[in-house]
């Protein structure tokens, strides 16, 4: 979805190419101060980015509060699930969840508590929202983290190979294959995998569990193996639908570099072809890709909602799906905030780290 992830930084660098013959001179070597000055410039830049992230986080907090108030229906009625309850009981519940207060007061309270990490009490589970989230977080991190590492490695490796052999049969195959998987709905792929590999078709027995994260009876090393066993299908699903993006970006940024003069210089120096690629082309092409990686990581957390739902994975995504159907406002709000915060955090991290990787920018 957000394949266009190159930060403004990059564009600035490209735009600042001193093509103009005249006008305000590009900061020449004489203008470049000692390292201390460039360090302060970088710190100022990073501080700016962090401040921007803080503003974004606050905006998300506001959105998370108001957006879900628009859901039609009374949450308390939903909670009681149609049972007969007295008006007193309803009033008591309203008071319990702070729904008796005017909206703006609910809002300030929400914001104040959110700052301390308190997102209220879940309607559904009658437990602190944060407890539910910390319970589910490890599962999500395990799933997305594993998938992220695998699709990043595959994507970059295949992307670089494809670009270097641009137009070859291998390139065409990998691009076509990646595009096809990219077009497949992740939940459908998950369901198919469950049918073929967990349920089993005809004589083929199920190889993997249909869902969940553990069988519940193991401990020690066996537990690790059990979790890994449960992990295989969800990870395969996530990797299959996600690696295409990394591959395509890596491929196109390496293609951009391939006509570059500095590669001719490297060849003229007598470098072997694979050294030209490894030492010169790939490091340059990696720069835009690195940014994408961070953005991917942020997005995968939210993107795992479907996979977690399909595989009954006890993570944040599954929790979100459950909470939505109630709707369990405090939980939905908090999860929405966390999903968005993950993206913001990763984007900011990419912005802050980028200048450290690319000597042309920021320092």
């Amino acid at each position: 979805m957000s394949t266009e992830s190159t930060p403004a930084l990059l564009k600035g660098a490209a735009g600042a190419d001193p093509v103009e013959t005249d006008g305000p001179a590009p900061a020449g070597p004489s203008a470049r101060g000692p390292r201390t000055r460039s360090t302060t410039a970088y710190l100022r830049y990073a501080a700016g980015k962090l401040a921007g992230a803080a503003v974004s986080l606050f905006a998300v907090l506001v959105t998370s509060f108001f957006l879900f108030r628009l859901i039609p229906g009374d949450p308390v009625k939903q909670m009681t699930g149609g049972r007969q309850v007295s008006t007193e009981q309803i009033a008591a519940m309203r008071k319990e969840f702070g729904l008796d207060l005017p909206l703006w007061q609910q809002f300030t309270e929400y914001c104040g508590k959110a700052l301390t990490g308190d997102f209220g009490t879940s309607y559904q589970f009658r437990a602190p929202v944060m407890d539910k989230i910390t319970e589910a977080l490890p599962a999500t991190l395990l799933l997305t983290g594993t998938a992220f590492v695998i699709y990043t490695v595959i994507g970059i490796w295949l992307g670089a190979r494809s670009a270097w052999r641009n137009g070859s049969a291998g390139d065409r195959f990998h691009t076509a294959f990646a595009l096809t998987l990219y077009s497949v709905p992740s939940f459908w792929l998950g369901l198919l995998l469950i049918i073929t590999l967990s349920v089993g078709i005809g004589p083929v027995p199920g190889l993997f569990p249909t869902g969940g994260m553990e069988s519940g009876s193991e401990s020690g090393f066996a537990y690790v193996v059990d979790v890994a066993h449960h992990l295989v299908l969800p990870v395969v699903t996530l990797v299959a639908v996600e690696y295409a993006r990394t591959l395509l970006v890596m491929r196109s940024s390496l293609l951009d570099e391939m006509g570059s003069d500095y590669l001719t210089t490297a060849r003229a120096k007598g470098l072997r072809d694979d050294l030209v690629r490894r030492r010169h082309a790939v490091p340059n092409a990696m720069l835009p890709t690195v940014t994408l990686l961070f953005v991917n990581l942020g997005n995968t957390v939210a993107g795992a909602i479907l996979v977690e739902t399909v595989f009954s994975w006890p993570g944040l995504g599954g929790l979100f799906y459950q909470a939505l159907s109630v709707p369990d406002l405090p939980l939905v709000q908090a999860l929405f905030f966390i999903f968005a915060a993950a993206v913001i955090l990763m984007n900011t991290l990419a912005d802050v780290i980028y200048p450290l990787l690319d000597p042309r920018v920021g320092r």
């Binding site: 500095y262 003229a268 120096k269 007598g270 470098l271 072997r272 720069l287 690319d358 000597p359």
Partner: protein
């Protein structure tokens, strides 16, 4: 296509010349869409001599530069001979070719901004070929990189800079330092001063001249600027549509060209103070030909102010046009006086349109 043999012209030294290019052809693509970029070029450079190659866009001069070390893309086919120290570059094995690159001959590319890798420090980029060709260990290579930087007039401390932290002139100096890294005997400078200011250009040219003289290197300098080449080089070859159309001592080619094209090109660079060029810019009608659609006969004939009927049909080969001079024009008879006054005064032939 048989080109005139180079043997007869001059040969003061006994050994083979540093570089001897014989009947070099370069064609991009193949079949119906083949584009001839270089069409039979003979060149030779002796150690310590400087050869200038002049020409305009599309004349094949940059292709020629890259062809000398077989750096052209795979779509290019080469034929002929490129004898570097007597060894043919075109028939070398890959390993041998890589060993010859930079150590036998190195290149100073045009537009140094893009020819340097933006994410590596310049010291590392200079040291890279030294390490690669096994000339020194890592520490010694770094020291050598610093020395080379000082040799081209930059402080050794600059080795820690990145290319974007340098000005255009400084980057070109880095390119030169890099070209010297493996003590090659031949340096190919492809438009080394294009896009630089006149003052910086003068600095860089001075530097190149000094280094070439000090180390007795051979130099091939490629440029569109005939005036600069005539000032810097010993001999000059003027290229047009993939061929050398005139060749000879630099000063003579610039001052009294025998080929109408060189003559026009030289007139396009006005001498300040020369009243005949005051308020009278000189040029040629038309444009340099597209290599994929070359005119018949002499490729220059559509733009030639002195063209005869025969020029449209008959290809002209290089012929002797004076002592150690050659030109490819039907009007050139061996021994005739120089320049048939084609561009003497204001004339009306130039205003086309």
């Amino acid at each position: 296509m048989t080109a005139v043999k180079t043997e007869s012209v001059e040969r003061p030294e006994a050994g083979p010349p540093l570089l001897d290019v014989r009947n070099l052809h370069v064609t991009y693509g193949s079949g119906a869409s083949a584009v001839p970029a270089v069409r039979g070029v003979d060149l030779r450079v002796e150690a310590g001599r400087k050869l200038g190659i002049a020409g305009e866009s599309g004349c094949g001069k940059s292709t020629l530069a890259l062809a000398l070390l077989r750096l052209l893309p795979a779509s290019a086919t080469l034929s002929g001979q490129i004898l570097l120290d007597g060894e043919d570059v075109l028939t070398m094995k890959w390993g041998r070719l890589r060993a010859v690159r930079w150590a036998g001959a190195s290149i100073v590319f045009q537009g140094a901004m893009h020819s340097l890798n933006a994410v590596h420090r310049i010291g590392d980029q200079i040291a890279e070929p030294i390490l690669l060709h096994g000339r020194a260990g890592p520490a010694a290579a770094r020291t050598r990189a610093g020395e080379l930087l000082e040799q081209v007039g930059l402080p050794a401390a600059r080795a820690d800079s990145y290319p974007h932290e340098l000005s255009g002139g400084q980057r070109q100096r880095v390119m030169i330092a890099m070209a010297l890294a493996c003590d090659p005997r031949l340096i190919i400078a492809d438009e080394p001063t294009t896009a630089l200011d006149v003052m910086i250009q003068a600095q860089i040219l001075r530097l190149i001249e000094k280094l070439v003289a000090d180390q007795d290197l051979g130099l091939i300098m490629i440029s569109h600027d005939l005036a600069v080449l005539s000032d810097t080089c010993d001999r000059l070859a003027v290229m047009y549509a993939g061929r050398v159309v005139e060749e000879g001592p630099a000063e003579q080619v610039y001052e009294s060209a025998r080929h109408p094209y060189s003559s026009a090109l030289s007139a396009a660079f006005p001498r300040i103070g020369d009243l005949s060029s005051r308020h009278a810019p000189r040029g040629l009608p038309g444009d340099p030909p597209d290599p994929s659609a070359l005119p018949s006969g002499c490729t220059f004939h559509p733009r030639c102010p002195a063209a005869l009927d025969i020029c449209a049909t008959e290809d002209q080969e290089l012929r002797v046009a004076g002592p150690s001079r050659r030109a490819a024009c039907v009007l050139v008879e061996p021994g005739t006086a120089a320049a048939p006054g084609l561009f003497g005064g204001a004339d009306e032939a130039r205003s086309t349109s």
